[in-house]
Point group: C2
Chain length 410, copies 2
């Protein structure tokens, strides 16, 4: 039904449409569905008791401050805590380099607001994080893509893409959402070198960096970029780095941060003032209270153990239940793995069958800004219990055999 509002909506909204997939995924919220769809942390690892104690202390000792308006940049002690956290990974910044945001999604939105003119081209991995595409659709972003393999963005294709003059490079180097793949050290160097040569800045999105279950920690691009520039390892300034408390504490408090040059932080702060004034004081003070004694390091060990086990369970189940011809990534950390079906199959079609069998995943196509990926799918392994993971993958395996029209051979 047409309403007077239909012709009132701004042009930019035509690119922001709710996808059919979002509607499909709403079906997965039914409790009897085993969902590998969302990117949700396991509720089992939420530090509920620590939050309860922190809320109690904060409201007793700083109640008036926690419930009052606060500065747009963020709660100063939390920004200082983030500075210390960042310093341990080898990069020296000050609170002037930090903006607290209402989740990383807001950081993506604010970056779009301050950097993207309509028609500007953004260089992204293909596939890339869907939330970034959603945020930047409102600012008229166009895309140039660089394909990925098991070592991350294929840097041999990067220079060609850079020649189109992108506004910035958007990269998720660690256990990428959606592919689960990690950019190698060699390729990180190459990205920094080429970005420098073409004078293009880098936005490094790193929500999962601490959640590594095997292999060696690799330095962040922002760290490598800084070290290349000055022996004192001060912040170099060609990289904007994003990270979040969502995966190391809890997503329901909506707390993340940006590390950037002070002039970028100032612009982001202006944009944030117009967008939501500031992130909830209460949440910032509580998160500070939970974290200040070193809790995060200890808690991350638990998360690694739980998610690492679930990843292993999912990989083993896929080995056991998926038909030949289906391939998947082996993520060293994070929350997701990525499966590629035979060319002839369409994962959005498979999802319909999967939902009938009470199991869900996210079809891969929406993660490709220029199209493609019809035969790919993203699977989350952090949320469901190991038993549910095995059962869900078994169901999905049966659905895949059915769509392949082949008898179940393994």
């Amino acid at each position: 039904m047409q309403t007077p509002w239909d012709h009132r909506f701004a042009q930019r909204t035509h690119k922001m449409g709710s996808s059919a997939i979002r509607e499909l995924l709403k079906l997965t919220e039914q409790p009897d569905i085993i969902s590998f769809g969302g990117g949700m942390p396991a509720p089992d690892v939420f530090p509920i008791e620590e939050f309860r104690e922190a809320c109690d202390r904060v409201l007793k000792d700083y109640g008036a401050q926690a419930l009052q308006y606060g500065p747009t940049e963020g709660y100063k002690p939390l920004r200082e805590l983030i500075v210390r956290h960042t310093a341990r990974y080898g990069i020296e910044v000050t609170p002037d380099n930090i903006l607290v945001t209402s989740g990383s999604q807001q950081a993506l939105d604010l970056l779009g607001k301050i950097l993207i003119n309509p028609g500007d081209c953004i260089l992204v991995e293909s596939p890339t994080y869907l939330g970034a595409l959603q945020a930047w659709a409102a600012y008229g972003a166009e895309y140039v893509t660089v394909p990925m393999d098991e070592y991350g963005m294929i840097t041999d294709a990067l220079e060609e893409a850079l020649r189109s003059g992108p506004k910035f490079i958007y990269v998720l180097p660690n256990f990428q959402n959606p592919s689960g793949v990690t950019l190698t050290l060699e390729r990180r160097k190459k990205v920094i070198e080429l970005a420098d040569r073409y004078g293009v800045p880098i936005v490094e999105d790193d929500p999962y960096g601490q959640l590594r279950y095997e292999g060696e920690h690799l330095p962040s691009i922002v760290v490598m970029d800084s070290q290349g520039r000055s022996p004192s390892a001060c912040y170099g300034g060609n990289v904007i780095y994003l990270s979040t408390f969502s995966k190391i504490l809890a997503p329901g408090i909506r707390l993340a941060w940006v590390v950037a040059p002070p002039e970028v932080i100032r612009k982001l702060t202006q944009a944030k003032q117009g967008a939501d004034l500031h992130t909830a004081s209460f949440n910032q003070i509580v998160a500070y209270e939970v974290s200040r004694g070193g809790f995060i390091d200890q808690h991350v060990k638990l998360i690694r153990q739980v998610y690492g086990e679930r990843r292993d369970v999912m990989l083993a189940a896929m080995d056991g239940y998926f038909p030949p011809g289906v391939e998947w990534t082996h993520p060293e950390g994070g929350l997701f793995l990525w499966a590629t079906l035979p060319e002839s199959m369409n994962s959005a079609e498979v999802l319909k069958g999967a939902i009938q069998q009470h199991v869900a995943f996210v079809p891969g196509a929406p993660f490709y800004p220029l199209g493609g990926g019809h035969n790919t799918m993203r699977l989350n392994f952090s949320h469901a219990s190991p038993e549910k993971i095995t059962e869900g993958i078994a169901r999905l395996g049966r659905v895949l055999y059915e769509y392949l029209g082949e008898p179940i051979t393994r």
Copy 2:
């Protein structure tokens, strides 16, 4: 110093500049300054103990849900609570008419995102709320203004302004920020009638509606608009209504809501998904827990009493200490009053002298999107204690006499 970032910022950021006034107001954060600058609630009336108990219960009983990702539209029981709250003011809506936002500032930002094409004209009161101008600068809004008097927007000037074809009318009918003035019932009717005749929707921003200290409650524009349309008082749909928990519970939890037609809520929800995924689950569940037993009604009585007294104290102090030739509004509610100095004076200049005397306010000019108001000032009476209000107004009176170059005559 120029940096490579200076030419990377999007064109829209040129209109988003941090104002000199914001920098001046940072000075007012010093503890020895009596500030009438911000729009802050009194910490004395924060329901700290109720929050402490609610946090405790929520984390014990719904911890995993409160710390997890949640739906973009908002926590369903909170949306239902807002529906009941709204119904009491005479308008029947359903949860499909409600979006929970991260403060009303986010509602303004999202409305800009879904409604404003660059160059679109918005019809606003003059002066109007600065936060709306900040939010909409990012979307390329232009303005047509309607002047105000002590009865609100001068509706005799409205039709002329409507002829320019504005995208929507933005109006704060109750105890307007910044002027403190309330739109009369007669003029509300006129606004609705003219909006209808010209086919222009209305955005009604009502953060303070419940905070009335004298006189009769007036029905909201959204209510009057609905009643005019159908005898069943169902939601008519030409008005988007904004309100907030910031002034009736606490601003530090960043919780507000939009009432709008379902098709507008759907668009806003898409925009919100790209902007911050959702408002913190924890805050929504805690606010629901604090409010569900009818606490807000009881609490609002306390707030009215405290703020009403402070308003009276400020008005009395102004009578006693301000020089002849200065005029001010008599707000029936809300947080602000508005003073007009003699034409020859510039309130931004006066602020410099005031800060030296450790008292602060907000100069009025930035509230005029098309310029003007150099001799006006906004004074907040909710935050400082009655003693501080009297002392601050006495100081400000001395500063005004000094700028007038006249001996203190009263």
